[in-house]
């Protein structure tokens, strides 16, 4: 169920330490400069403060209010409207299982139930080691790859119960995990910084996982006469096994 937190954060909120504040102010200036009206920078700035502390704290709210000339009430009203802003400390990896109708029917419900059992946490809860926050998410525009799991908003396509359990095990063990579409995982805080509008500077991050996923190419291949009609495309076909490669490598490392 939705975690309803009523009531305003306790005031006055403490400020950031001076050096953090100076660094964030420089970032904020850059963000604000992208817009004709400073208030438009509020959503990216909330991503920015989330990249500092992992969730939107009352200090973060105060910071946004001060740099934009808004009240903390105005900022809180916005921060509580959008689901991507966390309101309590959470894990390094946000594992979101799509349980909207199509993914749910195709196996998302089974995956979400299995992960809750496997990790011993419920929706919106974090594992004791602070690594994983599990939640169910809404449609993430990848229905042709159902069932879909998102980790820090990178795509893990065509998941099964086994592949999802293995993936969270790898995350908790600190092994490198690569999505089927997207770049090798960074932490939730680092992801939030990209969302604030600061491009991912890691070499290879933009190129990672290739031009398009296999389902995106099905029609094109048919139009070019490359695939015979009636071929059942297995989500785990040998053509595009990035997560199998990942798991294979993980297994080698693990043994």
């Amino acid at each position: 169920m939705t975690d309803v937190q009523l009531g305003m954060p306790q005031l006055p909120a403490p400020d950031y330490p001076a050096e953090v504040r100076a660094r964030l102010e420089a970032d904020a200036e850059e963000v604000i400069a992208r817009y004709p009206d400073s208030r438009s920078a509020l959503l990216p700035l909330l991503h920015l403060v989330q990249s500092e502390e992992g969730h939107v704290t009352r200090t973060g709210v105060r910071f946004c209010a001060e740099v934009l000339g808004l009240t903390t009430a105005e900022v809180t009203a916005v921060a509580t409207f959008y689901t991507m802003y966390r309101r309590k400390p959470s894990g390094d990896y946000q594992v979101g299982v799509c349980t909207n109708t199509l993914c749910a029917v195709m196996g998302g419900d089974a995956i979400f139930e299995a992960l809750q059992r496997h990790l011993g946490v419920g929706n919106g809860e974090t594992t004791e080691d602070g690594k994983i926050t599990l939640e169910h998410i809404e449609c993430n525009a990848a229905c042709d790859y159902a069932p879909v799991v998102m980790v820090n908003w990178e795509f893990f396509d065509n998941q099964t119960v086994d592949s999802a359990e293995r993936m969270v095990d790898d995350l908790r063990a600190g092994r490198t995990v690569e999505p089927t579409r997207g770049a090798p995982l960074c932490t939730f805080k680092e992801t939030a910084r990209i969302l604030a509008g600061f491009p991912d500077a890691r070499p290879g991050a933009v190129e990672a996982s290739g031009s398009a996923g296999p389902a995106s190419l099905v029609g094109l291949r048919l139009a070019k006469g490359e695939a015979a009609p009636g071929r059942v495309v297995s989500p785990r076909s040998a053509d595009f096994p990035p997560d199998e490669q990942a798991s294979g490598r993980v297994a080698e490392e693990g043994e």
Binding site: G107, A110, G248
Partner: protein
């Protein structure tokens, strides 16, 4: 009906027409270098050499209609922008793709972001805008990375940036500044509604505005604003390069051109299929292997969960604006979610309704309260605790949401209720008389028919 789609034709080479997706299979398809090898930015060069009004006229004459769901003519939207009003004009691209089932803009932007950037440069020239925004839903970081990179490349090439740099790089004397800001949202389906999107882009809660005034008159910062879907704008460069005759050679008189169809669910080959408007689901299934082996189609959506459900009897409906409308639904986003006979329609509709209740912004009473009560009734019915009179109550509540809400989210929430009651009332009744759901959800999963499939992918 349609010009190029022949009834009974099933050859994919003849039925499909990849344009936006034509080079997604190349390595590094998202780069400027690849895009330029495929006539990239050629349409921009032609457009910039034309008077802005001529560009608007050309796009209007092409017959291009909005690909985000409503199907409003793109050129006409541009024409509504008042000229000589002394106010800044804005172009805002709606990349908040969140409608359940819809999955076209995200793969498009991942594999070919420059088609959008080029379309934006053309549109900004036409409507005399010097600042455009891409409002991308936040939950797709891989796409955000490629948009950041594509915009950076476009600045470097001089397609974007300060007037001086653009004039010099493009060799044209009379170019203004042009900025593109990539803006990541923060998780809210309602922001796909254009006026809610504008409020969100202004740094507020994403709630829809009363119209009129329409965005063309008072949009972003109360200035004239065009809000277009990603696919609509990305389709413009090809129109400029290849011309209206080519564009109109596809589709029908009222629904011309090519588009991305997204096939998903219990089908043999889910994915993106780009072809002329007016293709049928039967043709798409015939060419791609049909429904998964051993099963048959039960119900499907033509354009996401907000478009009324269709069934097997609608397999030959031309998938264009008029054809789907005549069948009692809407083309929407061409998100063809297919469900086979293992799927419980009550479960499917309950889940969609939970989504609408979760995403209702709370601004207007019919949607906020109505979706809440629909969920309560549906959960009871699904759990076998429903009563026969609940079915009339469902229809009554849906009727009080539909057309009486502030924005289209409410209408969308009512669609699966009405259409499922129309085609599958017996199944609702079965849940009530039988005291529960007669379906086994395990049979609907992708791995249901393959006992070894839960172990697929384990290579260790």
């Amino acid at each position: 009906m349609t010009v190029t789609v022949e009834r009974g034709e099933s050859s994919p080479e003849k039925l499909l027409a990849p344009v936006l997706s034509s080079f997604w299979d190349e390595s590094q398809s998202w780069t400027m270098e690849t895009y330029l090898r495929h006539d990239g930015y050629e349409g921009m060069r032609r457009a910039l050499a034309m008077a802005p009004d001529d560009v608007i006229a050309l796009v209007k004459d092409s017959g291009l209609r909005g690909r985000g769901g409503a199907g409003f003519p793109t050129g006409m939207k541009w024409q509504f922008i008042p000229q000589g009003d002394g106010k800044p004009h804005y172009l805002v691209v709606n990349a908040d793709e969140s409608e359940p089932g819809t999955c076209k803009d995200i793969p498009l932007l991942f594999a070919n972001p420059h088609a959008l950037i080029e379309g934006m440069v053309i549109a900004c020239h036409a409507i005399r805008s010097q600042h455009a925004f891409i409002y991308l839903r936040g939950e797709v970081v891989p796409v955000l990375r490629r948009l950041h990179e594509a915009v950076r490349e476009a600045y470097e090439a001089g397609y974007l940036g300060k007037a001086d740099a653009r004039r010099q790089k493009l060799g044209l004397a009379d170019l203004p500044d042009l900025e593109i800001t990539v803006h990541a949202g923060a998780g809210a389906y309602i922001c796909g509604e254009e006026t809610a999107l504008l409020d969100s882009l202004e740094g507020r809660r994403g709630q829809p505005r009363l119209r009129p005034p329409f965005p063309a008159v008072a949009g972003l910062y109360a200035c004239p604003t065009v809000v277009n879907n990603v696919e609509s704008i990305a389709s413009v460069p090809a129109i400029l390069t290849k011309g209206n005759e080519w564009f109109r050679s596809m589709g029908s008189e009222k629904s011309p051109g090519f588009t991305l169809y997204s096939l998903s669910g219990h089908v043999a080959a889910p994915g993106q299929y780009e072809g002329p408007l007016g293709i049928t689901l039967r043709q798409l299934l015939d060419m791609s292997g049909g429904i998964r082996p051993g099963h048959r189609l039960k119900f499907w959506t033509p354009g996401g969960s907000s478009t009324p459900l269709l069934t097997e009897e609608h397999l030959d409906v031309p998938l264009d604006y008029e054809g789907v409308g005549a069948a009692g639904s809407m083309l929407g986003t061409k998100a063809l979610q297919c469900f086979d006979e293992t799927t419980c329609v009550v479960r499917a509709v309950t889940r969609w309704t939970e989504f609408y209740a979760h995403e209702s912004c709370g601004k207007c009473t019919p949607c906020r309260e109505g979706t809440y009560w629909l969920v309560q009734l549906l959960r009871d019915i699904e759990a076998g605790k429903g009563r026969m009179e609940d079915l009339a109550k469902l229809a009554d509540i849906a009727d009080n949401i539909n057309g009486k809400s502030f924005c289209a989210l409410g209408d969308g929430a009512a669609s699966p209720i009405f259409s499922s009651l129309k085609y599958f009332k017996e199944e609702y009744e079965q849940h009530i008389t039988g005291g529960g759901c007669p379906f086994d959800p395990a049979k609907s999963t992708v791995w249901a028919d393959d006992p070894s499939s839960t172990h697929l992918g384990v290579t260790a």
